[in-house]
């Protein structure tokens, strides 16, 4: 049964269930809930939805070193013996056919690359053609330009504004890495399943890494790409990535303490949510120059 002033609280059930009322609004609405059976009933039914929503985020594989850190921090004990890391064998890239745009298997570079020179120098050292230069310049220019983007007006652009602050922070982080004096890099080349794909990792002495990918094939439903540090002991998951409709992806991550750079890196295709050890085909692979 509704109480006499129910109309004043009409529509607040969903906001309450989502925790989207201010402190004062919430206090008033909870007072109303004490006498309004209709609202109590609807809130209960909507709470089921809001708690389910927390499970909607795609499960992700965390950095492998996090387990030990969490367990030690919480319990003061080390329980690292349960790790199930498996070995990962690098494919023989000597037999991979060379394509028009992919020449080198990857190399590291040191020091002192300015922002706008970075793209050109990276391309030159990889021996890759003008297409990639233009593409990388375009993307880096886009990152810079979006930092200065004006207030968005249309419906779609309004949605972008909802994440603009966070995106700006991320882009500043990328620029900090690629323009730093201590930047190093590794190129990843497309494997037979993705011969036109390319990857590019740049990192600094603070263990911050930017990863750029181009030309990745569209993912089948239920699959995702997973980036790996291929160490001598075992592959270590770096992160998951889902490319955009052009097959491009840009992300930042922290290099785990257990990884000594430069090391080989690879991208495999895996079930959504990722796996602890690689199971799928290799799409990109890069190794430091021997």
């Amino acid at each position: 049964m509704s109480e006499p002033h129910h109309d004043a609280f009409d529509g607040l059930t969903a906001l309450y269930a989502l925790g989207a009322l201010s402190r004062d609004e919430r206090r008033d609405f909870e007072t109303h809930l004490e006498i309004c059976l209709d609202c109590v009933t609807e809130v209960k039914s909507l709470l089921s939805v809001t708690h389910h929503l927390l499970h909607v985020a795609v499960p992700l594989e965390p950095p492998p070193q996090l387990r030990e850190r969490v367990l030690q921090h919480a319990t003061g004990t080390s329980l690292s013996g349960c790790s199930d890391g498996r070995s990962m064998t690098l494919p023989d890239t000597d037999n991979v056919p060379v394509t028009d745009t992919v020449v080198d298997t990857g190399e590291t570079q040191g020091a002192g690359i300015s922002f706008w020179m970075a793209a050109s120098l990276l391309i030159a050292t990889a021996g890759v053609g003008g297409w990639y230069t233009a593409e990388l310049n375009r993307r880096l220019a886009g990152l810079q330009g979006e930092l200065d983007s004006a207030r968005l007006k249309s419906e779609l652009l309004t949605v972008e504004a909802a994440t603009a602050t966070f995106e700006a922070t991320r882009r500043e982080e990328i620029l900090h890495i690629v323009t730093g004096p201590d930047v190093q890099q590794l190129f990843l080349t497309g494997q037979p399943l993705a011969p036109r794909a390319m990857g590019h990792a740049l990192w600094n002495d603070e263990a911050n890494l930017v990863f750029l990918a181009n030309g990745l094939p569209a993912l089948p439903d239920g699959d995702i790409y997973q980036l790996w540090f291929v160490t001598q002991d075992a592959p270590i998951s770096a992160t998951l990535l889902g490319p955009d409709s052009d097959g491009a992806a840009t992300l930042t991550l922290n290099i785990p303490d257990t990884v000594v750079m430069p090391t080989a890196m690879a991208i495999t295709i895996e079930p959504e949510g990722g796996v602890r050890a690689p199971t799928g085909d290799v799409y990109l692979l890069g190794r430091p120059t021997d």
Binding site: K44, A57, P59, P62, P63, R67, L71, A161
Partner: protein, 199 residues
């Protein structure tokens, strides 16, 4: 095929987990570190996934995860088995901590000892009554699909509340809409999602 192995973590049945979890939390309350590690292994991907969904930054998400599990270890005795699943409890804590981190990353926190409107408003208690629909991999998948199928602004308004902790007023400002419009969008969207769970 260059690399092939089987990941056993993807084959576990969901329905057995709530009971196992609740028993495990009782053992964690008694200081069982090995059980704590098993709970970590069971839930880390969903907890980390939610933290990443909110923060979009691996370093911040890892810090939040550390805080969540530290809280589980320290407060396991306070866990009330009549209040929803352990998974929901962990995710509720994750949401609160991640949104706190998100806000502190954006602005310097104001010194309001009461928390005021800057405090993260947690979802009301995840009581058993709040979870009448069994949480299964299928129900989560259906909800994920239904959420993505909502009209854009309905979905965005819900996500801003759920994953950024914004109030109706803040959502209205963000979307440049009237509060009444936001209220309607969110309620309409949640009712559609509820219908998905009841099918």
């Amino acid at each position: 095929m260059l690399l092939r192995a089987l990941d056993p973590s993807t084959t576990r049945a969901w329905n057995d987990e709530p009971v196992i979890d609740r028993q495990s939390v009782q053992r964690i309350a008694d200081g069982d570190a090995e059980v704590f590690a098993k709970i970590y292994d069971r839930h880390i991907r969903t907890v980390f996934g939610l933290a990443m969904r909110i923060l979009q930054n691996q370093r911040d998400a890892a810090d939040v995860v550390q805080g969540v599990f530290a809280q589980l270890w320290a407060q396991a005795k306070r866990y009330d088995v009549t209040r929803g699943s352990v998974a929901s409890w962990l995710l509720t804590i994750t949401r609160s901590r991640a949104i706190d981190r998100l806000r502190s990353r954006r602005t310097k926190p104001k010194s309001d000892p009461t928390g005021g409107d800057n405090a993260v408003v947690e979802f009301p208690d995840p009581t058993v009554e709040a979870e009448p629909h069994l949480l299964t991999a299928e129900s989560v998948s259906k909800l994920r699909t239904a959420l993505s199928a909502l009209p854009l602004l309905q979905r965005v308004a819900i996500e801003l509340a759920c994953f950024e902790g914004l109030t109706q007023t803040q959502i209205a400002e963000r979307l440049e809409e009237q509060i009444g419009t936001v209220k309607t969008r969110i309620r309409t969207g949640l009712l559609k999602l509820r219908a998905t769970l009841t099918v």
